[in-house]
């Protein structure tokens, strides 16, 4: 078997490849399920049911999809410029820290208007997220450091900061009002008025998800219909040509990193306002979910297209959500992990076939090379 680079891409290919990848993933998984003594069909139905069609399944899926929608958009925004911001994880923590701080502060000042809370939390989260992303951004623009390394390392710093605020200090975020809270560290709950509203009755849509969709549409307009996106496109494709056209590369690096960090930060605000209502500093809480890294996968599967990120986030969200439902006494959580891994592996592997074609050749080259007549 050989891989050859494709010179042309048939029109149907970008649709056929992801669908084919999923089919292959389910086929491989089917073998594993049967080998472990389970019915493949039954399991698959359970996944579809738990992820999408079951009672309340879609609502639960949207909860899983919301944070990875934000981190997916954050990754897509930066990757489009060949800026590999791996730091959405840490930028999301910073967003959560900022959003919970402003919510607590406004609560202390007796603000009761929910819209004020929502706007303030988003702004604070965006500012802190952008600030965190600008650290690798400035280093990249002015010192030419590799933003992959710096943004990745800052994730650990942000994680430790999060733990410190709740566990290792008597910070403003930590709840010290009761004896129980003093012995089992936890964050202060944010005021009730700052809990974000939800929409819909049969399917419950969190406000954060709607904000994410708006952000996706905004990004799409920014990148494909505006001068900003035009410059990003040229810089991604040929930095020398961008300089020749008089584009300011450094400024754009800072702008794109800030944008990416702000989006990830708002993801953190949504996490606080929509779901947890408190800053969760435990290493098994926000940090264990690894939303930032899942977001990279989402962005890659969506091929950095912000509108596609919305769809992929819901799909992956459903898959994650089905995983929680599936695991139980007769279905080990390890098997769920295997399943999710296989699906992601096939989907990302399938991407290769978009650019290369596979050719089966004979094991032994049977045709001797033609000899030149001398």
């Amino acid at each position: 078997m050989k891989l050859e680079r494709r010179l042309t891409q048939p029109r149907w290919l970008p649709i056929a490849v992801p669908v084919g990848s999923l089919v292959v993933a389910f086929a491989i998984m089917g073998v594993i399920l049967v080998l472990t003594g389970r019915s493949a069909w039954e399991t698959y139905w359970k996944i579809v049911e738990a992820g999408f069609t079951g009672n309340g399944a879609l609502s639960a899926t949207l909860i899983s999809a919301t944070p990875i929608l934000f981190t997916g958009l954050a990754a897509a925004a930066a990757f489009r410029m060949q800026l590999f911001n791996i730091g959405a994880e840490g930028q999301l923590y910073l967003g959560a820290i900022g959003a919970s701080w402003i919510a607590l502060q406004l609560g202390d000042r007796d603000v009761t208007s929910t819209p004020v809370f929502v706007v303030a939390m988003c702004v604070a989260a965006a500012v802190l997220g952008a600030f965190w992303a600008l650290i690798p951004g400035v280093l990249r623009a002015f010192a030419r450091t590799n933003e992959i390394i710096t943004s990745l390392m800052l994730n650990y710093v942000a994680g430790l900061l999060l733990t410190y605020l709740i566990f290792d200090s008597a910070s403003y975020w930590r709840d010290t009002s009761t004896l129980q809270a003093r012995s089992f560290p936890q964050g202060k709950p944010i005021p009730e008025a700052s809990n974000w509203p939800t929409f819909g009755s049969s399917v419950i849509v969190p406000l954060g998800f709607l904000i994410g969709i708006l952000a996706a549409l905004g990004l799409w307009v920014l990148y494909s219909r505006m001068r900003f996106g035009f410059e990003v496109g040229v810089m991604a494709d040929s930095p020398r040509a961008a300089r020749y056209a008089g584009m300011r590369t450094r400024r754009k690096i800072l702008a794109v990193m800030a944008l990416s960090g702000a989006i990830a930060g708002i993801g953190g605000a949504s996490q606080i306002g929509d779901f947890t209502y408190t800053l969760d500093g435990s290493p098994t809480g926000l940090q264990a979910a690894a939303f930032g890294y899942t977001g990279i996968v989402v962005a890659a599967l969506a091929r950095y297209n912000p509108v596609a990120v919305c769809l992929v986030a819901v799909l992956i969200g459903g898959l994650l959500n089905a995983g929680y439902t599936l695991q139980g006494p007769d279905f080990p959580s390890g098997l769920v992990g295997v399943m999710q891994g296989i699906i992601l592996f096939c989907a990302l592997g399938g991407e290769l076939l978009l650019r290369y074609r596979l050719r089966i050749t004979r094991l032994w080259p049977n045709k001797p090379v033609v000899e030149a007549p001398s």
Binding site: K2, E4, L7, T8, R225, M226, R227, F228, G229, F230, G233, V234, D237, S238, R240, A241, A242, R243, Y244, A245, G246, M247, R248, R359, T361, P365, V369, V370, E371, A372, P373, S374
Partner: protein
């Protein structure tokens, strides 16, 4: 190759092309840009599969599924844009992708490869140090590495795509010597070019392509540049170039360069204390052997490279050093020597490439928004005015052939209503028909009052178009001559470092 056809969306690149080449022959493929030369060679090297037609090698019909099959059959190609890994050494590049012998080993024996490369380079007169890294080499040396790669793989058929486009006349002459020693050994060389005198100098037979079809295969000996040109463009062309324009420069000094020193990439100075002035409607030619500061002069004026001392003024206003946008705002148009690498974003559409310098203001944009329809319209008008062969404004630039990309860049720069036009090697890589129109555009720009700085290695082009000519030698102005009275010999003397009185 018999009856080869290849269609791309919107374009028929090859339409029933046939030709044959014998062992020990240098066979030239001659044709204008977009005539299908490159497509044909990509089919021969297995990069494309033909829609119709047959390839026979030494009497046997072959079907290449991939470039590897073609390599196995002994067909190697030296592309116009080299396929070399810059941080690797010469020997490493040579062994790269070689899946027989040395390239198959898990641990590379560098010394053995280096020795073999050394042998080959001595045998064929391709002087290059096998230990040198690619980025340290000149373009001419890099091309030798490409040829060595082919020889190392025992190529029997070597295809050279526009090999002299990047070479100085001296380097080209050395290349021809190498090619001759190769066909003496029974190898076949397929030489793709649109330069008539070269084809005449090196080839045994010439197959002329036009509009994707074979026009004729003729013996190189009895044919003349004039007869070949007629076959190529389908009509008689006047290839004798004399004085191409009547000059009447205006009074106003549009471009003034005063005592400019420009650093090079290696810590020295590429340009030392250069001063020049160009009036409106005047064409100043810059002659010199490649690498004597021409590129840096152009880049200093267009802001691509910051000068360390001196000033550049356009219409009396000082330009900020190293700021391309200041130069664009002052309406300095710059046609780069390296048009494809610097002048274009290959993955983006023609429309977006057309808008490179106009996207900041209406009609290409309104406020922060792009006006995509206006951008497409501008691209369509450029495609038709400058005769770019492309399916439409949304085609990615990388799908265009080399010559058409060049027309795209030239057209974009000419269209921007410039006050100063800096053009480097405007006709390098272009065919006869396109050269005529590019010369007409440059002359026309000067007639409209544009100050033109024309950098070229083609002395006849400079003498034909320019009003005055300066010669750069090792970063300084070696002398200035009047283009109407100067001779090629006079310029050659200055270019070699002689001083004018």
């Amino acid at each position: 190759m018999t009856g080869i056809s290849k269609r791309f969306p919107g374009v028929v690149a090859n339409d029933g092309v046939s030709f044959e080449a014998a062992p020990g022959e240098v066979h030239a493929l001659l044709g204008e840009n977009g005539a299908g030369k490159t497509t044909l060679s990509n089919i021969l090297t297995g990069l494309y599969r033909p829609d119709e037609g047959e390839i026979e090698l030494y009497g046997e019909s072959v079907r290449f599924q991939s470039p590897r099959d073609a390599l196995d059959a002994g067909i190697c190609m030296v592309h116009q844009h080299f396929r070399l890994v810059e941080p690797f050494s010469v020997a490493e590049n040579v062994v790269l992708g070689d899946h027989r012998g040395e390239g198959r080993r898990f641990v590379l024996r560098t010394s053995a490869t280096e020795q073999r490369v050394d042998e080959l380079s001595q045998r064929y007169g391709l002087a290059v140090n096998p230990k040198a890294k690619i980025w340290q080499l000149s373009i001419g040396e890099q091309q030798r590495v490409e040829i060595l790669k082919a020889l190392y793989r025992d190529a029997r058929i070597l295809i050279l795509d526009e090999p002299t486009a990047v070479l100085t006349p001296q380097e080209a002459e050395m290349l021809f010597v190498t090619l001759r020693s190769m066909f003496d050994e029974g190898k076949t060389v397929i030489f793709i070019s649109h330069k008539l005198h070269e084809v005449k100098a090196v080839a045994d037979r010439v197959t002329v392509l036009r509009g994707g079809r074979t026009v004729a295969t003729v013996d190189a000996g009895p044919s003349t540049p004039r007869s070949l040109a007629a076959l190529m463009v389908g009509r008689e062309v006047d290839i004798h170039r004399g004085r191409m324009r009547e000059s009447a420069p205006g009074e106003e000094i549009v471009l003034a360069v005063e005592g400019v020193t420009v650093p090079d990439d290696r810590g020295g100075n590429a340009l030392r204390d250069v001063s020049l002035e160009i009036r409106s409607g005047e064409i100043l030619g810059v002659a010199g052997v490649a690498g004597n500061g021409q590129r840096e002069l152009a880049e200093a004026i267009s802001g691509m490279r910051a000068h360390s001392t001196g000033t550049v003024r356009v219409g009396g206003d000082r330009l900020r050093p190293g700021d391309p946008r200041a130069a664009i705002a002052a309406r300095v148009a710059h046609v780069q020597e390296d048009r494809l690498g610097t002048g274009l974003a290959p993955s983006l559409s023609i429309a977006r490439n057309t808008a490179f310098k106009t996207y900041r203001s209406p009609p290409a944009s309104r406020g922060p928004f792009l006006m995509l329809r206006n951008m497409a319209a501008a691209a369509r008008s450029l495609i038709s005015t400058y005769d770019v062969k492309a399916p439409g404004p949304e085609t990615p630039a990388r799908n265009l052939s080399g010559g058409n990309l060049q027309k795209l860049v030239l057209g974009r720069e000419f269209q921007g209503d410039p006050r100063v036009l800096v053009v480097a090697q405007p006709t390098r890589g272009l065919d006869v028909g396109a050269i005529e129109s590019v010369h007409a555009y440059i002359g026309g720009a000067a007639d409209r009052g544009v100050a033109v700085l024309l950098i070229s290695e083609d002395l006849e082009e400079i003498l034909g178009l320019a009003d005055r000519v300066i010669v750069l030698y090792e970063g300084s102005v070696a002398g200035e001559v009047d283009a109407t009275s100067a001779t090629v010999a006079e310029l050659g003397f200055l270019m070699a470092g002689g001083k004018s009185e």
